[in-house]
């Protein structure tokens, strides 16, 4: 399973990065979700996989069964999933607020922090209209 997951993680990364490079901010957020998942898969795979042997200590035992799954990556990923969700919530609401304030979700048109250079050609068409 590990080599396949390595390929899948790379694939998710590539898809997520491509989306993060879009002008539409909603696509950027979607890309963020894909990258979060991909990063979790990287950690999970690098800790190596074990089938059917979760890191639990059976009743009456003091040690888990031999060959139990690596618990540390799981703990890290658990944290990462929750924080990833926090980030996603913030990013999505930011999209909402940015649209309310600036009237666009086109990141190229958001030039408040770095205003265009004198004489620079700026973005005119914004992807604002609802598709028919």
């Amino acid at each position: 399973m590990e080599p396949l997951l390595a390929i899948m993680a790379g694939f998710l990364f590539a898809s997520g990065l491509y989306l993060m490079l879009r002008r539409n901010y909603v696509r950027v957020v979607i890309g963020l979700i894909l990258i979060s998942n991909a990063a979790n898969l990287v950690i999970f795979t690098m800790g190596r996989l074990a089938r059917g042997n979760p890191p639990l200590v059976a009743t009456g035992e003091t040690m888990p069964a031999e060959g139990f799954a690596n618990p540390l990556p799981q703990a890290l990923i658990l944290t990462a999933i929750v924080i990833g969700f926090g980030l996603l919530a913030f990013a999505l609401v930011l999209a909402y607020r940015a649209y309310r304030e600036l009237g666009t979700v086109d990141v190229d048109a958001m030039r408040v922090a770095e205003p265009p250079y004198p004489g620079e050609k700026t973005v005119s068409g914004t992807p604002d209209q609802e598709e028919a």
Partner: protein, 776 residues
């Protein structure tokens, strides 16, 4: 110790000067002048000691771990320069107090000029090369403040910046050269490096060292083609020009070349560079002087000529005549040029103009200044019995005794000195003799503070000419010895008898007087204008073009790298990361693929397929609903992967979060516009390429890591201690709430902050904005 303390006292006095100026008023100049006077007396005590005992060395550890020490080396060469710096400094402080009397920034002048004096003394006394460099840069820095003293004027600011950039660039090269020299010679102390001459000259890095050091010296000492900053720096008040641009700072480069002559000098490259650039600077400077009618510009260009002469002499270097000529000419030049600059300033101050064409007949109004000017100019023209005569004789003798091309060097020296004689006449005679002209101000004799300097300096020129024996043995010989690197003993005499050199002196004088009378014709001739354009204006224009070019490049690269588009920054980051990771991995490790492909089961392939399909749909979806469904498919597939690989907790969490995500998306997306793609095909292809590159890099790194064994240490530790120590049966939970509880606390804090942020974004409104203020 003594040298360091004297410099420290100078620093303290410098910073106290503005306060003193406020407290003591017009007497402040006289009080402050006591400092350079005291320093002159102090350095004069070294003269007999050095003549008797040789060089002295004082050292205090500063940063010993880096070989940086406050060490000072006092020999004949240092003392000559120290005496010039502090002696002329005394008159300059006095002169400045008269010249800038009542100026609201007089306190700032005192501060900068005193600090400059201390820095300059540091340069000529330092033994440690880092200490030397620090003082060297301090002179550039204080000269920036002094040239830009009239900072309300754009020209002054420009000239100050120009001098700073030119000498500062050279300074950086110098630092490189000095460090290389220390590296090759094995010491940071100049006094020790002087004994490493053989090693330095035969090392492979010699050429690099020499060129870097000379870049520093040539820019500082205004050698062609860097000479343009010196005339431009005449924007400075005249006391500054008289001090920095005739007697001291511009001679720092000459000092360093003379100082390092025993270590670096004598090679073919040294002779070629110094004699070549020096002779060129000498001739170009002298004749450029005659292309101008501004007294200070004329003097500035003749200073360029003097600096060129000194550089040329150091290039010849190997003969006794040359090293003595350097010593004598340095002293003579400082005396007459300092005096003449002050005279020019007095004319400007009293008559309101310093253009030779606009003043005349000032002799009656300013008799003392006129007399001082005459005496100084006679020395500059090299007329018996002035000290300048001895200096010129030695220059000619040195040129004649040069190892290569002596006749050419002599011819060039004569050519330059003819112009020098004419320039001396123009500066000292034209303003004071001839018909009286009406000037912007009604001229009076300058106050004593302003004529004391020119008179004393000019008279010293006469005294040393009449009785050269006064300084020959105690001062000139040790200086020449320090430059040559071996003891030198010459007798200075005024009258050599009827030698060929005397004939050349007479010829120079005759030709110079002829040029003096033809000056106006020459200055207005097409040749002179072309000469000024080619050698005066063109190098300065090259400087301006360089600065403009640098600004253009800065602007261009800022536009490229700081485009203001988030996507461009991200593309750069992704591209660079992909390249750095992928290149390092493949070049260091090669491509190694792990086994275990056959162990992948059918349902695992299926999950991977669903995930890939979901990601592809997310990338290409045009509808928001499709997109949410697609990322849902990816998220739930990941949850199933967790479940299949013994991570039930992850799976549960992932499923909950995915559900919440879909809800959140649905809530927000209603308010947002749709996803019509707007990017061009080219930019999509480019983005796909960069994204694929980093994705591939991630996969490659993972595959490579999978070929290495994993350390079981932590896994075993948590397994063994989860129940026994922490009394928990779910090891993942135990790690979260027990072993790594602080991490979990941090996670909760992050979530809390994100929640606050979400609340703020949804609920809070900036007060001034209208509700829903979409006003772009």
């Amino acid at each position: 110790m003594g040298v360091l303390i004297s410099l420290l006292i100078g620093c303290v006095v410098a910073f106290a000067a503005p306060l003193l100026n406020r407290a003591a008023g017009s007497r402040a100049g006289v009080i402050l002048a006591l400092l350079p006077l005291g320093l002159t007396a102090y350095f004069a005590t070294f003269v007999p000691r050095i003549a008797a005992e040789g060089a002295l060395r004082q050292s205090i550890a500063w940063v010993p771990a880096l070989n940086v020490n406050l060490s000072f080396y006092v020999d004949g060469l240092s003392v000559l320069f120290a005496l010039i710096i502090s002696g002329v400094g005394f008159f300059i402080v006095l002169y400045g107090s008269g010249y800038l009397k009542g100026h609201r920034d007089l306190g700032r002048f005192y501060l900068a000029v005193t600090l400059f004096m201390v820095s300059m003394l540091g340069v000529v006394l330092a033994d440690n090369i880092i200490t030397l460099f620090v003082f060297w840069e301090l002179t550039s820095f204080t000269s920036y403040l002094l040239i830009g003293f009239n900072h309300e004027q754009e020209r002054a600011r420009k000239a100050a910046l120009q001098a700073l950039l030119v000498t500062g660039t050279g300074g950086l090269a110098l630092l490189g050269g000095l460090i290389l020299m220390a590296f090759v010679g094995g010491s940071y102390e100049i006094s020790e490096l002087l004994n490493q001459g053989e090693v330095l000259r035969e090392h492979g890095l010699y050429t690099a060292i020499l060129i870097l050091v000379l870049a520093g010296c040539f820019t500082k000492s205004a050698q062609f083609p860097f000479h343009f900053w010196l005339p431009a720096a005449m924007e400075a008040p005249t006391p500054v020009s008289a001090y920095l641009h005739s007697a001291t700072m511009v001679k720092a480069g000459v000092y360093l070349m003379a100082r390092l002559h025993p270590a670096l000098g004598g090679t073919d490259l040294w002779i070629l560079l110094l004699a070549g650039f020096g002779a060129a600077t000498m001739v170009i400077g002298s004749w450029l002087a005659l292309c101008h009618s501004d007294l200070k510009r004329i003097l500035a260009y003749t200073t360029v000529m003097g600096l060129g002469t000194l550089t040329m002499l150091l290039g010849i270097g190997q003969t006794e005549y040359a090293v003595v000529a350097v010593a004598v000419f340095t002293l003579a030049h400082s005396l007459y040029k300092g005096a003449l600059f002050m005279v020019a300033g007095s004319i400007d101050h009293e008559a309101g103009t310093r253009d030779v064409g606009e003043v005349g007949g000032l002799r009656k109004a300013m008799p003392i200044t006129a007399a001082a000017a005459l005496v100084a100019a006679l020395s500059m023209a090299g007329i018996v019995p002035f000290f300048g005569f001895i200096a010129k004789e030695f220059v000619y003798e040195a040129a004649l005794a040069a190892g290569s091309l002596p006749r050419l060097l002599l011819a060039l020296a004569i050519l330059a000195n003819v112009a020098g004689v004419a320039a001396a006449g123009i500066v000292a005679l034209k303003p004071f003799y001839g018909p009286v002209r009406t000037t912007p101000k009604h001229p009076h004799e300058a106050p004593i503070a302003m004529w004391a300097g020119p008179v004393v300096l000019a008279l010293l020129g006469l005294l040393f000419g009449l009785a050269p024996g006064l300084i020959a043995a105690p001062l000139i010989n040790p200086v020449a010895g320090a430059i040559a690197g071996a003891p030198v003993s010459v007798e200075l005499v005024l009258w050599h008898g009827f030698t060929p050199v005397l004939g050349m002196s007479l010829m120079t004088l005759a030709l110079g007087i002829g040029v003096f009378f033809l000056w106006n014709t020459w200055r207005e001739s097409r040749f002179a204008r072309g000469f000024n354009r080619a050698f005066g204006v063109a190098p300065e224009n090259a400087y301006f073009r360089t600065i403009d070019g640098m600004l253009w490049i800065a602007h261009w690269q800022t536009r490229i790298f700081q485009s203001g588009y988030l996507r461009h920054y991200l593309t750069t980051v992704i591209g660079v990361t992909a390249f750095a990771v992928g290149f390092t991995l493949l070049s260091r490790h090669g491509l190694v693929l792990p086994g275990g492909w056959s162990a992948i089961t059918f349902y695992e392939w299926t999950l991977a397929g669903i995930m890939a399909a979901g990601a592809l749909v997310a990338v290409f979806a045009r509808s928001r609903v499709t997109m949410v469904v697609a990322i849902g498919a990816v998220g739930f597939s990941v949850a199933l992967i967790y479940l299949a690989n013994s991570a039930p907790d992850l799976s549960i969490t992932q499923i909950m979060v995915e559900t919440l995500t879909v809800v959140l998306f649905a809530l927000v997306l209603i308010h947002l516009p749709s996803l019509r793609p707007v990017e061009s095909r080219a930019s999509r292809l480019r983005d796909a390429a960069v994204a694929t590159a980093l994705g591939a890099a991630v996969t490659l790194v993972m595959l490579t890591v999978l070929t290495e064994p994993i350390s079981p240490h932590l896994t075993e530790y948590f397994g063994a201690h989860s129940y026994v120590t922490a009394h928990g049966r779910n090891i993942v939970n135990v790690i979260l709430v027990d072993f790594r509880a602080l991490d979990t606390l941090g996670e909760i804090v992050v979530l809390g902050i994100a929640g606050l942020g979400v609340f703020a974004l949804v609920k809070l409104r900036a007060k001034k904005r209208r509700d829903g203020g979409a006003d772009v």
